[in-house]
Structures are given as structure tokens and as C-alpha cells.
């Protein structure tokens, strides 16, 4: 009788011990994030521009005008489109220049107000010579300074449409001329 009583008591003690506490553990992990700096310029495709990234031609000009648009120019889209992207602080600037030995002062550009591709609305940046034919110089010169609504414009960037015109007066007949237009995005005014 005594032995039985002793065994019973032990069993009861064991049960109570296993249900008296709830274990809680925490596991933490640190997250680190690095955002790459973005300052880039790329050509729009021929969906949004006439010539994309290709050569711009003036073919078989009979120069009886001072404003000759490229061969194949259409009015429904710009000759070329620049997509400028930046995610830093401050403004960015788009610059254009023409490298040539024979066409100095002969090539002009026409730029209307750009579009923020993230919002599909006009930017509030500043176009130098907005909606006017402006001669492209030999030195890189600002054509657009970003505004408050497109200085930080990732992921889709700002679209700048550019049209070109040639003044062929004084160019020799039966000749072919070439040049290179350079577009630059920079944070330097």
C-alpha cells in the first residue's frame, strides 16, 4: 500500500513540471541595402523617334532653302529621342555638340519641352532655346537643365525629343559631308 502511494505521487509531479512554462525565442537578421548611382543616357527606339540610334541622312539635297530637314523626317515624332536618367541629388544637364570640320554653323536643333516618362507629363526643367531652331555648337552646350519634377527620374527617365535641320548654303555641289553629334548627360552645369 505504501509503495503504490509513492509511485502515484511521482507521476503527478512529472506532469506538472512539463506544462508550467512557454518557451519564446527570437531570431533576427540584419538587412543592408545599397542603391547604385544612376546617371545614364540612351536613345529612344524607332517607336518613339524616326532615326533611333542610327545615322541621320540628308540625301541628294538641292539647296534652295536654308532649313532642310533630314531625309525621312516626319512630323509625328522627333528625329531622335534621348532618355536621360538620374537618381542623385541636385540637377542634371543634357548637352549637345557637333564635331565637324566642314559643317560648322550649318546644323541646328529644335527641342520642345521634355516629358517625364514616369508620369507622362511635361517636365518643368529648362530648355535652352525652347521651340526654336538653334545652331549646334562645336563645344558641348547645355540644351536642357532638369527641373524639380524630373531631377530624380528613375526608373523611366526623362524623354527629350530632338529635331534637326541643315542650312546647305555655301556647301559645294556634288560633295558629301559628315559629322558626329554628341549628347551628354552630366551633373555639371
Amino acid at each position: 500500500m505504501k509503495k503504490l502511494a509513492g509511485i502515484l505521487i511521482m507521476a503527478m509531479v512529472i506532469v506538472l513540471a512539463t506544462t508550467s512554462a512557454f518557451a519564446v525565442t527570437n531570431l533576427t537578421q540584419s538587412a543592408s541595402v545599397t542603391i547604385a548611382s544612376v546617371l545614364s543616357i540612351e536613345f529612344a527606339t524607332t517607336t518613339d523617334s524616326t532615326f533611333g540610334s542610327g545615322t541621320i541622312p540628308w540625301t541628294s539635297i538641292t539647296p534652295d532653302s536654308t532649313v532642310v530637314t533630314p531625309t525621312g523626317h516626319v512630323t509625328s515624332k522627333p528625329d531622335i529621342g534621348l532618355i536621360c536618367k538620374y537618381n542623385g541629388a541636385g540637377n542634371w544637364y543634357a548637352k549637345v555638340n557637333l564635331a565637324t570640320t566642314t559643317l560648322t554653323g550649318k546644323l541646328s536643333r529644335y527641342i520642345s519641352q521634355p516629358t517625364n516618362r514616369n508620369t507622362s507629363t511635361a517636365t518643368n526643367g529648362t530648355v535652352t532655346g525652347l521651340d526654336a531652331w538653334t545652331v549646334i555648337p562645336a563645344l558641348a552646350t547645355t540644351v536642357y537643365a532638369s527641373g524639380t519634377n524630373d531631377s530624380l527620374n528613375t526608373p523611366l527617365g526623362t524623354f527629350i525629343g530632338v529635331n534637326f535641320a541643315l542650312d546647305p548654303t555655301g556647301l559645294a555641289t556634288g560633295s558629301t559631308y559628315t559629322g558626329t553629334i554628341t549628347y551628354t548627360i552630366t551633373t555639371t552645369p
Partner: protein
């Protein structure tokens, strides 16, 4: 008295609650756009063709273009002018713009093709110093004859020789204005006559 026993738990029993916090590391895609390209270039090519052309010109003082009419001519007169015209009215009958970027000497010639009794010499022309349309001043070329009435020839006759600025005169060219007159003597009343005036721009003297 209880002996101590090592107690162990298996996760699948879960007789007590376990709370495990796991912070999932945030991953940002940082490589979709890389700041590599800061400039792009476009090549341009331009081919200039030779320009050597003529075209008719009209404005408020240049009256006719393709046809110069002499209607209801009085055959008793020795000279008549086209319809609506009078001598010294400050206007011209026809204007021809000559354009060239060849940089070489060119000549402007005229002649008339007629059918008798209307002969070429019954038609007359009057040409004064042409104008450089790029500057608005008189052209630096030379008219062959002093300004007065001359009968047409039936073969091309030079009436103007280009000057230095005429040789490359784009984009607007050199404007030559011509007046016409008709000597109707010998023409039959009640008859209609026609003639063709031919203008030639050429580098051949």
C-alpha cells in the same frame, strides 16, 4: 524526492508555443540600370546635289506666268502691250528666277517660236537690270543690251550674263523680269495667233 532528469523537447511536439521571428532580408535589384553611359553619339551624312534651275516668279508687280495675253488687238497700232498693261506702269509681264550653286558662269537666253504671219520679230521684249533676291539689290551680272525694246529672234539669244554673286545665288536666285510688246501690223483681223517664248539658262555662251 525527485531526481532531476534531463528534459528534451522535439519541435514536432510543440507542446509549448514557439515564436520565431525571421526578418527576411530586403533585396533590392541594384543592377537593372547602371550608371555607365553618360554620352551617346549620332553620325550625320549630307550629300549636296548640283542646283541649276529656272522657275516662273509672280508677285503684285509681276503680272503673268505661263501665258501672256494680247486680246482684242487693234491692228491699226504699231505697238500694243499685253492685256491690262501700259508702258511705265511700274510692273513687269513675266519674271524668271534663275538659281545655281555651281559657281560657274551662266547665260540667260530667250527666243520665240511663231507661225506666219506672226513672225518672231513682231514680238518684242524689254529687259532691265535683274535683281539678286538674296540681297534685294540689283544683280552683279550684265545685261547684253541696254534697256530698250528689241525684237525677238527665232534662235536663242543671250540677254544676261551672270555676275560673281549670280554664279552661286542660292537659296533665292536671280530674278529677271521681261516685258512684251506686239507689232500687230500684217496680222489679220478676227484671227487668233499664238507663239511660244522660250527661256534658256545655260553655261554655254
Amino acid at each position: 524526492m525527485f531526481k532531476e532528469r534531463q528534459l528534451s523537447f522535439k519541435s514536432d511536439r510543440d507542446m509549448s508555443r514557439k515564436i520565431l521571428f525571421l526578418l527576411i532580408a530586403l533585396t533590392f535589384i541594384t543592377t537593372s540600370i547602371s550608371a555607365i553611359d553618360t554620352s551617346k553619339t549620332t553620325n550625320i551624312t549630307i550629300a549636296i546635289e548640283n542646283a541649276f534651275s529656272m522657275e516662273f516668279y509672280t508677285d503684285q508687280n509681276v503680272v503673268y506666268r505661263d501665258i501672256v495675253p494680247f486680246t482684242n488687238v487693234d491692228p491699226s497700232k504699231s505697238i500694243v502691250y499685253p492685256d491690262g498693261r501700259a508702258e511705265f506702269d511700274g510692273k513687269s509681264d513675266v519674271g524668271v528666277v534663275c538659281k545655281s550653286n555651281a559657281g560657274t558662269l551662266w547665260y540667260f537666253k530667250i527666243h520665240a517660236i511663231t507661225n506666219p504671219p506672226l513672225t518672231a520679230d513682231k514680238l518684242q521684249y524689254y529687259i532691265s537690270q535683274p535683281y539678286d533676291r538674296n540681297t534685294g539689290a540689283q544683280a552683279d551680272g550684265t545685261i547684253t543690251q541696254s534697256p530698250k525694246w528689241y525684237p525677238f529672234s527665232s534662235t536663242p539669244t543671250s540677254v544676261f550674263t551672270a555676275g560673281f554673286h549670280d554664279m552661286s545665288n542660292l537659296p533665292f536666285g536671280t530674278l529677271i523680269t521681261i516685258n512684251f510688246a506686239l507689232n500687230p501690223s500684217g496680222l489679220n483681223a478676227g484671227q487668233a495667233y499664238s507663239a511660244a517664248v522660250v527661256y534658256t539658262m545655260t553655261t554655254a555662251p
